[in-house]
């Protein structure tokens, strides 16, 4: 590496012929190279548009490193070197132009990607990241010619020093407190103009730049002072925005390549060579001077030799300083190289290059490390041997990719499995890029990175993801993950099953709210749908609901219970997880249970109501019964009174009947008896008329006696106590017939008594009944020719109906109602004798037994008299119940 330009300062100072000659010779030697490098630069300007672009910027006024050429394009050593490095790293560059102060800020802000020439200072470490330095410059103090009193930095203390604003010179003067009087200008041009015009005392800038600027501006009244500024040695690097590590790495790599393949050297010649060419313009002047001043030559030569010696001495001293600086730079370079190697080790990466024409493969240390081989014993150019490191399974794929790339120039990236020389298995990532020349690949380069660890952790991650997936799929709950837009990011098998989707691809990325909630016909969501889920995302709160309908893919729905949990990353909600299941069945059961409960409650209420009603009814009945008991007591009391009354009237009646039977009869007996005596004792003294009249008196007295007897009898029937016993009715009727009928009647009548059921009744009274009825039958048949009596009965279980049928006079049925009345007669006394009491007695007796009497007849067609008595069983029951009541 050459740093010849450091000596430019002396060329500038000398400006003598010797130097010019030397320069001419050097120029002639270097010309082809310069031309060649121009070609290269032209070629390099031919940008490949497909490459990624770095946006860089250049200053207009920092020649020969960065400036604007006559065409207005950025130019300069740094610009070209940057282009070369970028291209080597596979980038193209878009250069912009701006004042240093501005582009410096642009880079810090990231508006541009990189700057080609940035001095590395402590102040800038925090703003930019730097590549290794490719250039070191030393500062110098520029003063107006003839200025004295400044021979070291210390002499500047009271001086007015001007620097470009933001330049490292400003940083230097402020950092080192060179002076208290520091002034700034936008550019160094301004500074020099002002210095030349007599303002300020000194300008501090890079020596080479200052000299170049002064020349460009044609200022000769300003010159640099010969002493060094040891603290203002500036290392120049490419700079990128802080943190842009990938670009930094690429540029570092590109810079390494540019240095390694002599591009740096060529550019150096290009930019510092033409300096000499420009001096060629002085050639004519020198030549003229040569011709004109030959005579003076010798004199000047001697003077020059003296001067030269002095200069050589000074130069030697300067050179020593330069060499020391050079050494320092070399050390730095070495350090950078070591750093690169260390970085490669740490990053487990390395670079390679394949020169196709030469069939030479070059590796950086990183690749030796990866393949576990030694640089001194292993030749990377043996392509076939290199292939053997690649795992059998990947080898073919790599070869195909590599061969393709060789043919087409397409870059490639592949992950490969390797078996390093020490037998260790590795995963590597290999990148390959190509360099084309005339459409043909002439160079291939790239890097290899050991990604075993990343692979393993990826594999681990994959396994754990698989486990999580299995876990998710083994749960019965549907689980859906959503992002903050409500779009599905994952779902498990249960979710697909519940929502009836065949494939998770039909859900993933879709809006869950639209998928599972009911919507209007235009597919917009119903108001309020999925509030719980939205809440999880918007408020970061968990939510549980069990009353929302989820819709399946086929449009059917189910009642869902779900929990939505927000998913947070660094305290920020990035989505939510929804776990849900179908609770339609549960809801139905709950509802059935509820309706059952309601039904039961209703029934209980109804029953209670009924019961209350019954209780009230019972209360009413009880009250009514209490009233009835009261009434009954009252009635009983009344009855008692009535009974007493009755008893009294019975007694009265008894006394009356007694009186009738005794007192009423006595006069009758007298009338009858004494009439009989009269008729006996005075029979001879009475004529027939007298006798007839006495007989009438006698008969009426007898008749009245009969009446009295029968009335008493009737009254006795209703008064006397009944004594029931079983009566053989057939026998009783028979005996009564024989008792009542006269002998003559017995002879003239034909009697038929059928077998009759027995009855339970008072025998005395029933005997009276038969007596009266048989008597009637005989009496009313007496005038009929057909003298026939039939007696019988019919039992209809409830009662026995007895009858007696004759063929006598009968009666007019119109008067049937009168038949059983007291003293009622349907025949005259002349036709048939009678008192009109007999049938009344019968009715009285039968009624007292609980039976009925009635009769059927027609005049002269006989009559049938019926009386009924309750059947024996019926009667007994009735009698018993009767007794109970009493």
């Amino acid at each position: 590496m050459r740093y010849d330009f450091f000596s430019e300062g002396c060329y500038g100072d000398l400006r003598n012929g010797v130097c010019c000659k030397l320069l001419v010779a050097a120029f002639l030697l270097l010309l082809p190279l310069v031309l060649l490098s121009r070609d290269n630069s032209n070629e390099n300007n031919h940008r490949d548009d497909s490459l990624p672009v770095i946006i860089a910027a250049s200053e207009p006024d920092y020649p020969p490193f960065c400036f604007v050429d006559k065409n207005g394009n950025p130019a300069g050593f740094a610009v070209d070197l940057f282009r070369a490095a970028a291209e080597a790293a596979g980038y193209s560059v878009d250069f912009r132009i701006g004042v240093w102060e501005k582009i410096k800020q642009d880079l810090a802000r990231g508006t541009i990607d990189a700057l080609p020439l940035v001095g590395r200072t402590p102040e800038r470490e925090d703003m930019y990241d730097f590549t290794m330095p490719y250039l070191s410059l030393h500062g110098a103090v520029f003063v107006r010619n003839g200025t004295t009193g400044i021979s070291s930095v210390e002499d500047l203390r009271q001086k007015e020093v001007v620097v470009m604003k933001g330049d490292n010179a400003e940083e230097f003067v402020r950092r080192e407190n060179i002076t208290t009087k520091i002034f700034t200008t936008p550019t160094f041009d301004n500074a020099f103009i002002k210095l030349a015009a007599g303002e300020y005392d000194a300008v501090i800038t890079q020596r080479i730049i200052g000299i170049r600027l002064l020349e460009q501006m044609g200022i000769t009244s300003v010159e640099p002072l010969p002493f060094q500024l040891p603290e203002f040695r500036q290392d120049f690097c490419f700079a990128v925005t802080e943190g842009n590590d990938s670009l930094l790495a690429s540029l570092s790599e590109g810079l390494s390549i540019a240095i390694a393949n002599d591009t740096y050297e060529q550019l150096h010649y290009k930019w510092f060579g033409p300096e000499i060419q420009e001096r060629i313009a002085l050639k004519d002047i020198l030549r003229n001077a040569l011709y004109i001043t030959v005579p003076l030559f010798i004199i000047f030569s001697v003077m020059a030799i003296i001067t030269l010696r002095r200069l050589i001495k000074k130069r030697t001293r300067d050179l020593r300083n330069e060499i020391a600086g050079h050494k320092q730079t070399l050390e730095l370079m070495h350090k950078q190289k070591l750093l690169l190697n260390e970085m490669e080790k740490v990053a487990k990466t390395g670079g390679w290059e394949y020169d196709i024409d030469q069939k030479i493969v070059t590796w950086t240390d990183g690749i030796y490390e990866i393949f576990a081989v030694q640089r001194n014993s292993f030749d990377p150019s043996d392509f076939d041997r290199n292939l053997n490191f690649i795992d059998n399974e990947d080898r073919q794929a790599f070869l195909e990719l590599f061969t393709d790339s060789m043919k087409t120039g397409e870059p490639y990236d592949i992950e490969l499995r390797l078996h390093a020389a020490d037998g260790i298995f590795k995963w590597v990532h290999m990148a390959g890029r190509t360099e084309l020349k005339n459409g043909k690949v002439v160079r291939m380069y790239g890097n290899i990175s050991d990604i075993t660890q990343a692979k393993q952790s990826h594999e681990k991650l994959k396994n754990s993801e698989e486990q999580i997936r299995l876990l998710l799929n083994s749960t019965a709950e549907g689980i859906i993950g959503i992002d903050t837009d409500g779009r599905c990011t994952f779902c498990n098998q249960s979710a697909l099953r519940l929502l009836k989707y065949d494939d998770e691809r039909s859900i993933k990325g879709e809006s869950i709210l639209q998928l599972i909630y009911d919507k209007h016909s235009d597919k917009t969501a119903m108001p309020g749908a999925g509030q719980g889920i939205i809440r999880a995302i918007e408020k970061g709160e968990g939510f549980n609901a069990d009353n929302e309908l989820f819709y399946r893919s086929d449009g059917s729905s189910f009642i869902s219970e779900y929990f939505s949990h927000p998913v947070k990353k660094e305290n920020k909600v990035v989505g939510a997880v929804i776990a849900f299941w179908d609770i339609t069945r549960r809801k139905k059961d709950e509802e059935e249970l509820k309706s059952l409960k309601d039904g039961l409650e209703k029934e209980v209420a109804e029953r209670t109501g009924e019961l209350n009603e019954k209780v009230q009814k019972l209360n009413r009945i009880q009250k009514a019964m209490l009233y009835m008991v009261e009434d009954l007591n009252y009635i009983t009391a009344e009855l008692k009174e009535e009974q007493q009354k009755l008893e009294r009237s019975n007694k009265d009646l008894e006394a009356f009947t007694y009186s009738v039977s005794h007192d009423l009869r006595a006069p009758l007996r007298s009338i009858s008896g004494f009439t009989s005596f009269l008729m006996e004792d005075y029979a001879g003294k009475l004529d027939s008329e007298g006798m007839r009249l006495l007989t009438i008196v006698h008969d009426n007295a007898k008749k009245m006696d009969t009446l009295i007897t029968e009335i008493l009898n009737l009254s006795r029937i209703s008064r006397t106590e009944m004594r029931s016993s079983e009566i053989d009715m057939t026998a009783l009727a028979n005996s009564m017939y024989h008792e009542v009928a006269t002998e003559e009647e017995k002879r003239s009548f034909s009697l038929r008594i059928k077998k009759m059921p027995p009855s339970k009744a008072d025998p005395v009274l029933i005997k009276q009944v038969w007596q009266n009825l048989i008597g009637n039958a005989l009496k009313y048949s007496s005038k009929s020719e057909n003298k026939r009596i039939e007696i019988g009965a019919e039992d209809n279980n409830k009662e026995v109906i007895y009858y007696i049928k004759d063929a006598g006079a009968g009666f007019n049925p119109e008067y049937t109602g009168k038949l059983f009345g007291l003293f009622q007669r349907l025949h005259t006394e002349n036709e048939f004798e009678g008192t009109g009491i007999g049938l009344a007695v019968v009715k009285q007796i039968i009624n007292r037994h609980g039976g009925n009497v009635w009769a059927e007849s027609r005049i002269n067609k006989g009559a049938t008299f019926f009386f009924s008595l309750p059947s024996e069983s019926y009667y007994s029951i009735k009698s018993k119940s009767h007794e109970k009541v009493e």
Binding site: Y658, S661, R665, A666, S670, G673, F674
Partner: protein
Amino acid sequence: MKRLNEVEILIVEDNRNDTEMALRALNKNNLSNNILVVGDGEEALDFVFARGKYAGRDKDARPKIILLDLKLPKIDGLEVLKVLKSHPESKIIPVIVLTSSKDESDLIKSYRLGVNSYIMKPVDFDKFVNAIRDIGLYWLLLNQQPG
């Protein structure tokens, strides 16, 4: 007084007409000897027990039969019967109750008090005569009292 001790039939009857008819009926049956008629129960008992106006009479000369009407002034027929049948000296005297009705209560009471028989006083005198005959014959002639 001698006659009183010979009384065979004592008639206790307050109705004169009835008494006359009874006497006529007895007479018709030739039973008219030694008959005494008293008009009330007290007198009847006085006679039987020889007290009052009959105090001088021989107490042991008892009538053969007493015809007793039930309806009597002062002491009625049933009371008389009760006294007669409750005293050993009078107990043995047959008492025939004369009644104008077959009123059962009277008859039952009479039988309970120990009456020997009864005769209905019929309106038909002939029947009365027949009844007196039947009873008189039995009690006066056939039914000999113990010594």
